[in-house]
């Protein structure tokens, strides 16, 4: 039990709550120190189970380690540090607490040795991330967060149902490799895939993330989807379905991002795209592919956070979010521009950046398996990444046209966070050995061969050519693109409204006929028994005696007949 006090995730969550009581320099110091402490503790976690707790009749393992879990816990800690540095001047007091709590819960998932612990931290993550979105404090953010929460509650229920079924069947709560062979395992897989942003419910991600504050989106981009990649790597490596789900995500992200105008929504679609590469890698299932998926998750967290920091800086300094309102910012925001470009080159897997040394392992795994169609699709998608994120984001935000805006670069801590992540992007690209050393399997891959560099440059630069040749076609418009969320944002509500309208009309009609029936009955009663009614009128006594005599005579006559 005492070893639980050194659980990196719990330390981060406790630190996050402590932040609520602190102000000024002390708050900043704790916000930066706690992720560093968590990183240190992650590297003290040995292989195997560290702590165990009894719960019902189960022996939980809330803290356990191996190479895969330490890899993800490491990057989550680094991300928490970089994100906290960037978010120090966020005015909303709740956001940083929620974000670090969320990061701690994500680390909790990666260090969980059993399914119940995974589930608990999984749900804590959903709460933390929802609070991050709430912290934006706007109406659209609040509504988006409720949709986000509903979807993640659904995912949590799927996961819980699957875990319960699995425990009922096997009696084991161990988090190990599953096969997608029973309904329980399908439910677990569905719960995992929902958080990865896989179809059919990818829309929650581009719906919710861009509504968070300028700093909130940076945190959101890192944890939920990459925790999903982690649990897929552990639970479902080599599941063929994941190859197709991943390829769908890759192209979904590109096509929707091409049509998008909001700079942070472009990057949100691009998260789905990048996680698609990882999910495909998990589906391919070879050591090369799994290493590639894990390495790509590591690299992706850094460059995507960097891109969103750059977009967040623009949002903070200009208060504008659409490409149509932006442009020409390179003049007055040189640091933000350069950092944005480095992030964009990394996501595009340009040689000498982190994306190049990680993503190419997934393509290599497809080539090693002689899977031509998958390899071609991955190559087409790599070209598409450069198109939709690599050039589109920096071009429309920082160059394009002179929007007349001349905002300065953001405050020094935000610049420092961006420079820190830029250095990591290039550092990993130039010298990938430290990353390769902590991957789950031994790495037999040399990223820098002449042929690989040349072919990658061809692929990317000719994509760039297409972008500039077809620039007129790509000009942004004041539009959004419908997605599956239309079903629950438009169709569902309008169906409900339709049904409610009909019900209301039916109730009115029923009420009307009831009242006409009532007035009919009352009218008849009134006619017969009212003051002027036939049966209520006064009659002369003589006429009554006459009628009695007539009736008696009639009776007498009938009696004798």
């Amino acid at each position: 039990m005492s070893s639980l006090a050194l659980h990196p995730g719990l330390i981060l969550m406790a630190g996050a709550i402590l932040l609520l009581r602190l102000r000024g320099v002390a708050r900043s110091a704790v916000a930066l120190a706690v992720p560093v402490a968590a990183l240190y503790l992650v590297w003290l976690v040995p292989d195997g189970a560290v702590a165990s707790v009894r719960f019902l009749e189960f022996e939980l393992t809330p803290l356990a380690g191996d190479k895969l879990s330490r890899l993800f816990a490491t990057i989550f800690s680094i991300m928490a540090f970089g994100g906290a540095l960037f978010a120090l001047n966020q005015k909303h007091p709740l956001e940083l607490t929620a974000a670090l709590f969320y990061a701690g819960a994500a680390i909790g998932v990666t260090l969980a040795g059993d399914l119940i612990t995974v589930f608990v931290f999984w749900e804590l993550m959903a709460i933390g991330s929802t609070l991050v979105i709430w912290s934006a404090g706007t109406g659209p953010a609040y509504r988006a967060s409720l949709r986000y929460l509903m979807i993640h509650m659904l995912g949590g229920m799927l996961l819980l149902a699957g875990i319960t079924g699995h425990v009922a069947e096997t009696g084991s709560i161990a988090f190990q490799r599953f096969a997608a062979d029973t309904p329980a395992h399908w439910l677990i897989l569905a719960g995992f895939l929902l958080n990865a942003g896989a179809p059919p419910l990818s829309a929650w991600l581009p719906d919710a993330y861009p509504e968070a504050s300028w700093s909130g989106t940076v945190f959101l981009s890192a944890f939920t989807t990459k925790t999903a990649v982690y649990v897929l790597l552990r639970g479902f490596p080599g599941t063929e379905l994941l190859v197709y789900a991943g390829l769908f995500m890759v192209f979904y992200g590109i096509v929707y991002a091409l049509l998008e105008n909001d700079m942070r929504r472009i990057l949100a679609y691009s998260i789905v795209n990048q996680v698609g590469f990882m999910v495909t890698g998990v589906g391919l299932g070879t050591e090369m592919a799994l290493n590639g998926a894990a390495a790509h998750a590591f690299a992706h967290i850094i460059y995507k956070a960097l891109l969103l920091m750059s977009a967040g800086s623009v949002l903070l300094m200009t208060d504008k979010r659409n490409c149509t309102d932006l442009g020409g910012l390179f003049r007055s925001m040189p640091v933000t521009t350069w950092c944005g470009i480095i992030g964009a080159l990394s996501i595009s897997a340009f040689p000498l950046t982190s994306g190049f040394v990680s993503k190419s392992m997934i393509s290599q795994a497809a080539a090693d398996g002689h899977l031509l169609v998958i390899w071609l699709l991955l190559a087409a998608a790599s070209a598409g990444v450069f198109l939709h994120a690599g050039i589109k984001f920096p071009w429309f935000v920082f160059f394009q046209k002179d929007s007349g805006l001349r905002p300065p670069d953001p405050p020094h801590n935000m610049r420092a966070a961006m420079i820190f992540f830029s250095v990591l992007c290039i550092g990993l690209g130039v010298y990938p050995d430290p990353l390769y050393a902590i991957l789950p399997y031994p790495v037999a891959f040399t990223p820098y061969t002449g042929a690989h560099v040349v072919t990658q440059l061809q692929l990317l630069l000719f994509s760039g050519l297409v972008f500039f040749v077809l620039l007129d076609v790509l000009r942004r418009t004041l539009t959004i693109t419908l997605d599956v969320d239309w079903l629950y944002r438009k169709l569902g509500p309008s169906l409900c409204a339709g049904i409610a309208g009909r019900l209301a009309r039916a109730l009115v009609a029923i009420g009307r006929s009831a009242s006409s029936l009532r007035s009919g009955v009352l009218g008849a009663l009134h006619r017969h028994h009212g003051p002027q009614g036939v049966l209520a009128r006064t009659w002369p006594t003589g006429s009554m005696a006459l009628w009695a005599v007539i009736l008696l005579l009639a009776y007498l006559l009938l009696y004798y007949l």
Binding site: L376, T455, L460, F467, T477, I480, L482, K490
Partner: protein, 83 residues
């Protein structure tokens, strides 16, 4: 009148296009001088990645435009509905 930023001047942009064209050609020519490590037949065609990237991007843009015709709505589309 204020001088435009050097990067946005017409001459600079023309120069950038020339440099870009030279670099594009260089990446294709360089293929002749590096050891090939093709896994598939199709990769051995000269400049495979160049024209494949070009066609893939053109195809993606065409598909996106097509999808846009069906699915694009005004940016305030949802604001009436889910308030």
């Amino acid at each position: 009148m204020m001088q435009p930023h050097w990067l946005t001047r017409r001459e600079t942009i023309r120069l950038l296009w020339i440099v870009f064209a030279v670099v594009l050609a260089a990446t294709v020519i360089a293929e002749l001088f590096v050891a090939h490590e093709a896994h598939f037949e199709i990769e051995t065609i000269l400049g495979f990645n160049a024209w494949f990237g070009l066609l893939a991007c053109a195809g993606l843009i065409a598909f996106a435009k097509l999808l846009g015709v069906l699915l694009k709505r005004h940016e305030r589309y949802y604001e009436g509905g889910d308030e």
